[in-house]
């Protein structure tokens, strides 16, 4: 009896008390805090940070935070993974080597220092890329941040203080151009959105939607409260990743990577760099004296002009890259391949390819050229610009659209339309050629809507979205636009074709009948629905009358009953579920509040207009 009791007490003790030196159990054995991890790896925090960024190791949330809420927890396996990373040793070697150099320099042994510098050990991140993304699709899936970062750095000035190298920026620019060239060439671009933060692009490659943000082509100001070493570590990995992704993509097109560029243009690029550098030094002084900068608009103008110039040469580079595949020696092969590709293309790509077909664009000086040079060819258009090395000049009679972003246009060719750049983006997002009337020079264009929003799910559809919807339907020959709205359709060729089939009157008639049909259907549905509801209501009423007969007291109120049922069901819920439900309801409420606010504002605007 006694003997049997003893072990049970032992077991009971073990649960609560762990003698020193014994293994831990539970979360404490599976997770370590960051400081513990650093101790284990015998590295500094900076090293650890760098390593975890490159390896893609992130903290994980234990179920129970055994050291409290203020700690970061890593999984033990993750740390072991870091510990076995060859890069860790490599970093140590590099550090030791740098100490050697420092020592030589301190001893004024310049020969040795220089000799050592020539043989500095380097490291590669190829293996890490492969390890983190075992399949190409995985890499594509995670490419959003990579592209955003690379595009951002391509627009940044080189700053020694932040250790942002010239070469780094050049490399970023090159990588981003290569990527854009691929997307453009294969017509993979799907959506574009100009926001205040920059321009969002969305491409679809191998079924993966890849969204990235490019800053506006302006001089970026570097904030002081940013740790650039962290960003640069990220960028280091991203550069490698994007390089390999580009290689693979170019390989799929049978184009050699890295593309070989015209040395003349390369020289231009370096020239461009010198310019940008100059601008950086200028801005640095201007940040020191913001007042002076703001007070002298002429200086700013100058800077802008320089930027424009810089853009130009950069664009030439970009353009060359765009043309590159056709310039390759195996151009014929590319043609063949292009034909093959067309068969393989999915429906979307085909449609994208056709959007700006047979249109010839010309960009004026003041429009965002880089973006448009990327976007227009990606949808099958032909484009030229004002400047050297442009494929055709402004005077070309075959130009169908000139993109202008200035209050007034002086000399006009009658054969072409003068439109604002937003037209291009709106057309791309709507996938139809929109009427150009609203986008004429000097007008305030209609609102630019985000293509990333599902209006129906959001519950609020802006007016212009509805207009676009109607136009889309018209383009698909389903319903013609409402009379009065579609008179600007006369301008564009597609709708002209449509109108060729049906005369105006017929069209409006058809529209009206369609509308009637729709309303009828709607009515029918409503009735059906109300019937259904009514039946339910009646039933509940019957039930309640029964109830009333039985009790002879409570007056039945369907609303009251519904409420009762609700509260009853809420009472029956578990606490967890109730919390969830409340959260959902709260969110719903917030959404409806937002939408009602929008509607209210709209109403106010309308009333003020009237």
């Amino acid at each position: 009896m006694v003997a049997r009791k003893k072990p049970s007490t032992m077991v009971a003790r073990k649960k609560h008390y762990r003698p020193p030196g014994k293994k831990k159990e539970g979360n404490a054995s599976r997770y370590v805090t960051r400081s513990q991890a650093i101790k284990q790896l015998q590295v500094t925090l900076g090293f650890f940070r760098r390593l975890s960024i490159l390896k893609g190791i992130f903290p994980r949330e234990p179920k129970k935070k055994f050291k409290g809420n203020n700690h970061t927890y890593y999984h033990v396996k993750d740390i072991a993974f870091l510990q076995h990373e060859p890069l860790l040793d490599k970093f140590r070697d590099i550090r030791a080597y740098q100490k050697k150099i420092k020592k030589a320099e301190a001893k004024k042994n310049a020969d040795l220092a220089t000799l050592l510098r020539t043989r500095e050990p380097t490291y590669k991140l190829d293996r890490l890329v492969r390890e983190r993304y075992p399949k190409f699709v995985d890499a594509l899936r995670d490419l959003d941040d990579c592209l955003t970062m690379v595009h951002l750095f391509a627009a940044l000035p080189a700053v020694e203080r932040a250790k942002i190298d010239v070469e780094l920026i050049h490399n970023c620019r090159r990588l981003s151009h290569e990527w854009q060239a691929y997307v453009c060439r294969t017509y993979k671009l799907r959506k574009v959105f100009i926001s205040v933060k920059g321009i969002y692009y969305q491409a679809e490659i191998e079924g993966q939607k890849i969204t990235w943000l490019t800053p506006h082509a302006m001089q970026q100001v570097l904030p002081d409260d940013v740790n650039f070493s962290v960003m640069l570590t990220f960028l280091e990995f991203y550069e490698t990743l994007l390089g390999f992704v580009n290689f693979r993509l170019y390989h799929s097109l049978n184009v050699k990577y890295p593309p070989i560029l015209d040395p003349k243009l390369e020289a231009l690029a370096s020239d461009l760099y010198a310019l940008s550098r100059y601008i950086v030094s200028n801005t640095r002084t201007s940040t020191l004296e913001p007042k002076a900068a703001s007070s002298s608009p002429s200086e700013q103008l100058e800077a802008k002009e320089k930027e424009m110039q810089a853009d130009e040469s950069e664009l030439r580079l970009a353009q060359l890259q765009h043309q590159l595949p056709s310039n390759e020696p195996g151009a014929l092969m590319h043609l063949m391949e292009g034909a093959e590709c067309e068969n393989e293309d999915d429906q979307d790509t085909k449609e994208c390819k056709r959007l700006f077909k047979n249109m010839k664009f010309f960009l004026s000086r003041e429009v965002p050229r880089e973006s448009l040079l990327f976007v227009i060819p990606a949808f099958g258009g032909v484009v030229s610009w004002d400047g050297e090395a442009a494929p055709y000049k402004e005077a070309d009679q075959s130009i169908s659209h000139q993109i202008v972003d200035r209050p007034t246009q002086g000399h006009r060719y009658l054969s072409r339309e003068y439109i604002q750049p937003q037209w291009i983006y709106d057309c791309i997002n709507a996938w139809i050629i929109l009427p150009t009337e609203a986008y004429m020079v000097g007008r305030i264009p209609p609102p630019h809507l985000s293509p990333f929003v599902d209006n129906d799910a959001e519950g609020y559809v802006p007016d212009y979205a509805e207009t676009i919807k109607r136009l889309q339907a018209a383009a698909r020959n389903e319903v013609l636009p409402m009379p009065g709205v579609g008179k600007e359709d006369l301008d564009d060729p597609q709708n002209l074709l449509v109108e060729g089939y049906i005369s105006r009157a017929e069209a409006s008639e058809a529209a009206q009948t369609k509308k009637k049909m729709v309303t009828l259907e709607k009515q029918y549905h409503e009735e059906l629905q109300s019937e259904l509801q009514g039946a339910v209501m009646k039933k509940s009423k019957q039930g309640s009358t029964e109830h009333a007969k039985a009790s002879e007291e409570s007056v039945p109120d369907p609303k009251q009953i519904a409420e009762d049922i609700e509260t009853m069901s809420k009472l029956g819920m578990s606490r967890k579920k109730r919390g969830l439900l409340e959260a959902i309801e709260k969110r719903k409420e917030r959404n409806t509040a937002r939408i009602s606010k929008l509607k209210e504002r709209k109403k106010k605007l309308k009333s003020s207009e009237n």
Partner: protein, 528 residues
């Protein structure tokens, strides 16, 4: 001694000059030329290295070399016109113009000899009056030879005479500078001509080259990018570590982030002002703005910061795989059964037990289910047969009956009733004779004597035989709310308010009595 030295120098010089003249394009065998070559080789090495990486140290070394060359050139300048003596240095370098281009190409170094006869034995002119021709083609006349004695006397007078050399080619006397004499001396000793040139450095370089520290052929650059993902089918090897949780993608921009949003998205000035009053967390981070044209969009000031914050999120935020909550809120609610589904349930009144004149306070069913007892506010307890609604027995108490409860044992059909301050244990009169006998025996209590009142007060209750209702009457000092039997039928408990004065007078007086020991209990009480 001085004369002998001078002579030897002269001889040496002559020899050298001759050699340079005769074998201009041949390789030099002399020590100094080899050394010079080495020096130049080293210099070129340096140059290559410095081309590799623009380290200043190498440059400085290169410059010092170049400086040496120049300085020697400067020395040559002092003696412009008679470069015979200098030819050692200058021409040896000239012979390999491809190597030492930097050092020997300066024009000052190359002052053309006055004589243009070229590389011919001077014996040919021994008997002529001229020694050769100048650039214009005019004859250069030989100088009048001084009398040997005169010249000797002059030489004796001149202390610098030992430095003077006769240049046969140009028919001139050349005076060596101090530095040049030093050079010559060093060469005679078999040392390197320049004092600041360290041959051991060259040795070091040679060693470095041999050991492969310095490489001349650049390592073949491997292509930086290659096909990393060959065919994806083969790369499905499973990694041993934890599952990768991809970071959530940043939110997509909505209509309000557009540079030209619909007007209704732009908050009014009042609203913007009201944001200032809001809590930091509730305040909207992004205030929509409208630009009427693309050209007027400024640079986004937080571009770098946003990117940085995203970086921080990526490597600092713990990631947890969470199931997306995409549920219909209705599905969360438990389904209440509709009343229809609960049928059959009694919907009509089936039996009615009539007889009570006041509200029924409590009912209790007997263990067998055949009988029901009910207590009413009219002061009666009635015993009913369930099936027939017949009232079998009525007890009248005259006070409101609060509670009735059957003993759960079927063989003891005893009813507990609370009336005011009393609890009655009643014999229901059910069951056969044996049962009746047993019950009667149980319910018989001797009436306690009067002096025991004090003890009763302490215990809070008193037992008394109640003849009127054929049972036991338990008197409490306060009104009793309810009475409940233990499921074995041995004990029962009563509930009454503990204290009226204390407001939170929940209750409670639990009395546990064994029916069998009631008598004993009473006896013991009476005895004490």
């Amino acid at each position: 001694m001085g004369a002998s030295k001078k002579e030897s120098v002269e001889v040496d010089k002559k020899k050298n000059s001759k050699k340079t003249q005769t074998t201009k394009k041949e390789k030099h065998n002399t020590e100094e030329s080899v050394l010079a070559q080495k020096q130049e080789g080293a210099a070129t090495d340096y140059k290559e290295l410095s081309a590799d990486d623009d380290s200043e140290d190498y440059k400085s070394v290169g410059e010092s070399e170049a400086g040496d060359g120049e300085s020697s050139g400067d020395e040559g300048n002092h003696k412009s016109g008679s470069s015979e003596g200098l030819a050692i240095d200058g021409q040896s370098e000239d012979s390999e113009p491809d190597q030492g281009a930097e050092e020997s190409d300066s024009s000052e170094d190359e002052v053309a000899p006055r004589n243009t006869v070229g590389d011919v034995p001077l014996e040919w002119y021994r008997d002529e009056k001229h020694i050769g021709y100048d650039i214009a083609g005019k004859k250069i006349k030989k100088k009048e030879k001084q009398d040997k004695l005169d010249s000797f006397l002059a030489n004796v007078d001149d202390s610098k005479n030992w430095r003077k050399i006769y240049d046969e080619y140009n028919d001139e006397e050349v005076e060596l500078t101090k530095e040049e004499t030093k050079l010559v001396r060093r060469m005679l000793k078999g040392k390197t001509p320049h004092a600041d040139f360290d041959p051991y450095a060259v040795l070091g370089l040679v060693r470095a080259i041999r050991k492969g520290y310095i490489k001349f052929d650049k390592p073949k650059e491997e292509p930086r990018f290659y096909m990393l993902w060959g065919d994806d089918a083969s790369s499905s090897e499973k990694t041993g570590h934890l599952s990768y949780i991809p970071a959530p993608k940043p939110n997509m921009p909505g209509h309000e982030e557009s540079y030209n949003p619909s007007l209704e998205y732009i908050p009014t000035q009042e609203e913007i002002n009201s944001y200032q009053l809001m809590d930091e967390e509730d305040r909207p981070k992004f205030i929509p703005k409208r630009f009427t044209s693309l050209r007027s969009i400024p640079a986004y000031e937080n571009a770098v910061k946003d990117s940085f914050e995203r970086c921080l999120d990526l490597y600092l935020c713990p990631r947890v795989r969470k199931k997306r909550i995409n549920i219909d809120p209705e599905s969360l609610k438990p389904k209440l059964p509709s009343r229809k589904d609960l049928r059959p349930y009694p919907a009509t009144c089936y039996l009615e037990y009539r007889g009570h004149k006041g509200a029924v306070m409590s009912i209790s069913a007997e263990a067998s289910g055949q009988w029901i007892a009910s207590g009413s506010s009219d002061g009666t307890v009635r015993l009913w047969e369930v099936e027939t609604c017949r009232c079998i027995k009525v007890w009248e108490f005259g006070e409101v009956v609060q509670y009735v409860a059957w003993n759960p044992l079927p063989e003891l059909p005893i009813l507990a009733v609370t009336v005011g301050q009393d609890v009655f244990l009643l014999n229901s009169g059910l069951g056969n004779e044996e049962i009746q006998r047993k019950v009667k025996e149980l319910l018989h209590v001797e009436t306690p004597t009067a002096p025991e009142d004090s003890g009763n007060k302490v215990s809070g209750w008193s037992w008394r035989q109640d003849d009127e209702h054929e049972g036991i009457r338990l008197r409490h000092f306060k009104s009793v709310y309810s009475v409940e039997w233990h499921r074995k039928g041995d004990y029962f408990s009563t509930v009454m308010p503990a204290d009226i004065l204390s407001i939170h007078c929940h209750l409670i007086a639990f009395l546990f009595l064994a029916l069998e020991s009631i008598v004993l209990c009473m006896k013991s009480i009476s005895h004490t």
